[in-house]
């Protein structure tokens, strides 16, 4: 029974990790940018949510309606300026630039928001409560909601990429930028759109992180970025469903690890991450590189 509980709790946490990871996965899939500032941007999303709630008094759960567009605009702007400038030089430069961005964001937040931890408290008792299955299994509504959001986001992204005009352009540009230019497609704009969407999901991740635990300026690189990375790599790079699976596998591994020894949860997660890298470097759902 305890094992079943671990697995269920792991799956629920996995939804949060998948939400952390899908923006990272999208940016890498489309423009091969590994965004090292990803976690910090999620934290920025959390702070933006704090600010929005303080100013407008919207309910916490609805703050995403304002935070997501703000982050999307920020994503488009960052892509068209800093990240595109780095991409024009080389892929390696984007690694350095996003690392720099991460340092700037972290220290900026320390400067202006102090090192104190914050969280997005919900007063709604339904959300903060849980229901039980049998005697030992407790399912928190909040985690269930986040898992549902992760699934909806991934379904929505998948549909957008496969069926919409911009989704098609994003896939075309990911395949061959130059050929896309020959068809009149400004790939920089398409990259901007992709970044806006990725940052929108990052905003959701930031809010979810603030709802489930506390965040501070360093949370981004300490946990969110690492978990997102692990989820993307375990699941298979470039596959959104793989990212969901990766998040869940990571969550379950952490739960089972902490069951064995309460301090070994994170360790177990990273052992699975390393095992996947060694045994199946393309990830659980990834295909081998095609010629």
């Amino acid at each position: 029974m305890q094992w079943i509980n671990d697995i269920i709790q792991g799956i629920l946490t996995g939804g949060l990790y998948a939400l952390f990871a899908c923006g990272l996965s999208l940016l890498f899939g489309v423009m091969k940018v590994i965004n090292l500032a990803h976690g910090d941007l999620a934290v920025v999303g959390g702070y933006v949510a704090l600010g929005v709630i303080a100013v407008t008094h919207v309910p916490v759960l609805w703050s995403f309606l304002i935070v997501v567009p703000i982050m999307a605009v920020l994503g488009y702007a960052l892509q068209r300026t800093v990240i595109q400038a780095a991409l024009n030089r080389s892929i390696l430069t984007t690694l350095i630039v996003t690392f720099g961005l991460s340092v700037v964001i972290e220290n900026g937040l320390l400067q202006f928001a102090s090192a104190n931890s914050h969280s997005l408290g919900v007063n709604n008792s339904i959300i903060t409560s849980s229901f039980s299955i049998g005697s030992q299994i407790q399912v928190a509504y909040l985690l269930l909601l986040i898992l549902a959001v992760a699934v909806v986001v991934i379904l929505g992204l998948q549909y957008f990429l496969s069926a919409s005009r911009y989704g098609r352009l994003i896939r075309a540009v990911a395949d061959d930028q130059e050929a896309a230019q020959m068809s009149g497609v400004d790939y920089r704009h398409v990259f901007g759109i992709a970044a806006a969407i990725a940052f929108g999901t990052v905003a959701l991740a930031g809010i979810a992180s603030g709802l489930t635990s506390q965040f501070s300026p360093t949370t981004g690189t300490d946990t969110i970025l690492l978990f997102a990375f692990a989820a993307v790599v375990i699941g298979g790079i470039g596959s959104l469903w793989g990212t969901l699976l990766g998040g869940i596998v990571l969550g379950v591994a952490q739960q089972i690890g902490s069951q064995i020894n309460s301090s070994d949860g994170f360790l177990a997660g990273y052992i699975v991450f390393l095992a996947v890298l060694i045994l199946r470097p393309q990830g659980l759902t990834g295909r081998r590189a095609q010629s």
Binding site: L169, R171, D176, A180, Q181, M182, S183, G184, V185
Partner: protein, 329 residues
């Protein structure tokens, strides 16, 4: 022989103003001068062919016109407007559309999605996805197939279709024959009249000279980034073409100067590629580049990787091109 001035008396003037004009274009790849003061004028309705051996700078010229390389000198005028500093995607939406060397389809997209991307920012004009399906009969039945699963010849057709749905005014065709079996190449070039009938202009680059002499209304031969011969196919002799192609002997006579009717019949006689060594012979698998003198001409590869990039994997599908096109339905 540095930079033939295209301003010599020209029978093509009757067609009005040139649609595309290139003046003294010089392009460097790093230290290497890939193009050296190249000029050309393409008039509406023409099939203007750039020929030359591997590394002559042909692809560089086309890619510079498309906006993918930046010239160190010179200007590109399109319909009288200066395009030299315009971004490639803006050139495409204004009517300069290229079918890139090696086809460059969006491999993870289906045939239809490839065409839809081509049509996204299309100009108004006669070409639609439906019309492309009419031009290439097999395509409609296989429109939901991934383009990476097609044979080389089929991919080339989709690449042409993707360019056509953008409704170009001038269509740039970069080395259509590369890696394709001669019979497939012939079939694709046989489509050209139907495409031209919709009123567009073609500027093409080709190593396969025999093919070019049949379809082109004007040819220009490049060697090591310079123009060595220019004129109408009927006005140049096979010997002139061969000399200009390989850089043999004295400088080839300039354009239409010394040739008249009798030479013209010679020229077309050689054009069917019935034999004879040199560029007029039937193309090898990689477009006749195998002849020994070419390697001497390559000079450590002007425009290095471009010419070879797609060659290796193509061999297998040479034979399958004709059979797979009947695979559908």
């Amino acid at each position: 022989m540095n930079g033939f001035s295209p301003s010599q008396p020209d029978k093509r003037e009757g067609n009005g103003n040139p649609l595309l004009e290139v003046h003294d274009l010089t392009v460097h790849h790093g230290q290497l001068r890939a193009l050296d003061h190249i000029s050309l004028r393409v008039f509406p309705g023409e099939v203007y062919a750039i020929i030359g051996a591997n590394g002559a700078g042909k692809s560089t010229l086309l890619r510079t016109i498309a906006g993918l390389h930046h010239p160190t000198e010179g200007t590109i005028l399109f319909d009288g407007k200066d395009m030299t500093r315009v971004r490639p995607e803006r050139r495409a939406t204004q009517g300069i559309v290229m079918v890139p060397e090696g086809r460059r389809l969006f491999g993870s997209l289906t045939v239809e999605e490839n065409l839809q991307v081509g049509a996204t920012y299309a100009r108004k004009g006669p070409w639609t996805i439906e019309r492309v399906y009419e031009l290439f009969g097999w395509m409609k039945d296989r429109r939901s197939q991934r383009s990476s699963q097609l044979s080389g010849g089929e991919q080339q057709s989709v690449a042409i279709g993707r360019a056509l749905v953008a409704n170009p005014r001038v269509l740039l065709l970069d080395e259509l024959s590369l890696g394709l079996a001669p019979v497939i190449v012939h079939r694709i070039y046989a489509m050209l009249p139907q495409i031209l009938a919709t009123g567009l202009t073609v500027l093409l680059v080709e190593q396969d000279v025999s093919q070019v002499l049949q379809v082109a209304s004007h040819i220009q031969c490049l060697l090591e980034g310079r123009t060595t011969l220019e004129g109408r196919p009927e006005d140049v002799t096979p010997q002139q073409v061969e000399a200009a192609y390989f850089g043999l002997g004295p400088a080839a006579p300039g354009g239409s100067g010394g040739s008249d009717g009798s030479d013209g019949s010679d020229g077309s006689g050689g054009a069917d590629g019935s034999g004879g060594p040199g560029p007029l012979g039937p193309p090898g698998e990689y477009g006749g580049a195998g002849s020994p003198p070419v390697s001497g001409v390559g000079l450590g590869g002007v425009a290095p990787s471009e010419e070879e990039e797609f060659a290796p994997s193509e061999e297998a599908e040479l034979c399958s091109g004709s059979t797979t096109s009947s695979r559908g339905s």
